[in-house]
Amino acid sequence: MQHYNYFQYEKPNLNFEKPDRALTLGNTFPLEYEGYKNYVPTTPNNLTEKEALMWDIQKYAFVCNDLGLYLDLHPTDMKALKYYNENLEKLTKVKEEFERRYYPLTKTSKEIMRRPWPWINDFEGLK
């Protein structure tokens, strides 16, 4: 197993997976991916409209989280910060769309003021 250290990561050519692939692999930095046997992670298909929108939330949130861990240790890496910001902006947009169309994701979402209390209706949002 190969490990990547601080100094290797400080290289200016640090690159990132696209969000779809990042979530599929559970990995944002291509250098860091380490497969298991010959299993190939696949992106879910045949998604309903709602599931597809949820996948978009999941992928942008995943990239923000993973880059966040890296930025905790390298807060001045501008390339990582730029990719983080791009994904955060997209995440905000898809969350707003999802909440408008389906249900508020948190108790402090803007949508919660506009409709009946949604929390106990169903838990299908988890899937």
């Binding site: 298991y36 999941q58 861990l69 890296y70 948190t106």
Partner: protein, 187 residues
């Protein structure tokens, strides 16, 4: 503080119940190398971490681990959905049913309930980080054992995702370890 967001970190959609698989996956819920132990270990260490980078890393990884507890819980729920006492009898799981009915419980695949001894905090940053690195490696190994047993992609894909997260977390903790060790030597 924490605010709950009503969604999973990664989609779980398991169409066929499988009690045998649930019986082993439960270890990543409340077993020695499980996600509960991971979340509690890191969050606890974060409170007293002196280095701000390390504190941030521990809080962020702990938070992610809580979302992994939820993924495992959802896998267990779907793997046992609609099953009856008779199914539990066939899988030799009546003792589990006796204690917990159809609820989940934090225990290992060998039926040991969750214990605080699974986690440690010893008042030394490098020692704590070494424990965290070891924990990630052990969790990765257990995920591999589970992937070896998985019969469908519906079960395999989330496990592969979670396994890779262990690899990434290990790398972050290792980086933190190397940074602190190097800075210590320079003093």
């Amino acid at each position: 503080m924490f605010e709950y967001e009503k969604r999973l970190a990664y989609p779980i959609k398991i169409s066929k119940p499988d009690l045998e698989m649930a019986k082993v996956i439960i270890s990543q819920y409340g077993g020695p190398q499980g996600e509960l132990a991971a979340a509690l270990r890191y969050l606890n260490q974060a409170h007293t971490a002196k280095d701000p980078r390390m504190k941030a890393l521990l809080v962020d990884i702990a938070t992610e681990e809580f979302s992994h507890i939820e993924m495992i819980a959802e896998m267990l729920t779907q793997l046992t959905k609609g099953l009856t006492i008779d199914d539990y009898r066939k899988a030799n799981m009546l003792p589990y049913y006796t204690e917990h009915g159809f609820d989940l419980y934090y225990e290992s695949s060998t039926n040991l309930p969750f214990r605080a001894e699974y986690i440690s905090a010893v008042g030394d940053e490098l020692a704590n980080l070494s424990e965290d690195m070891a924990a990630e490696q052990k969790a990765r190994a257990v995920y591999e054992h589970l992937i070896d047993q998985a019969k469908t992609d519906e079960v395999r894909m989330p496990l592969l995702f979670l396994r890779q997260r262990e690899v990434v977390h290990f790398n972050r903790f290792k980086e933190m370890f190397d940074i602190l060790e190097k800075e210590k030597k320079q003093k």
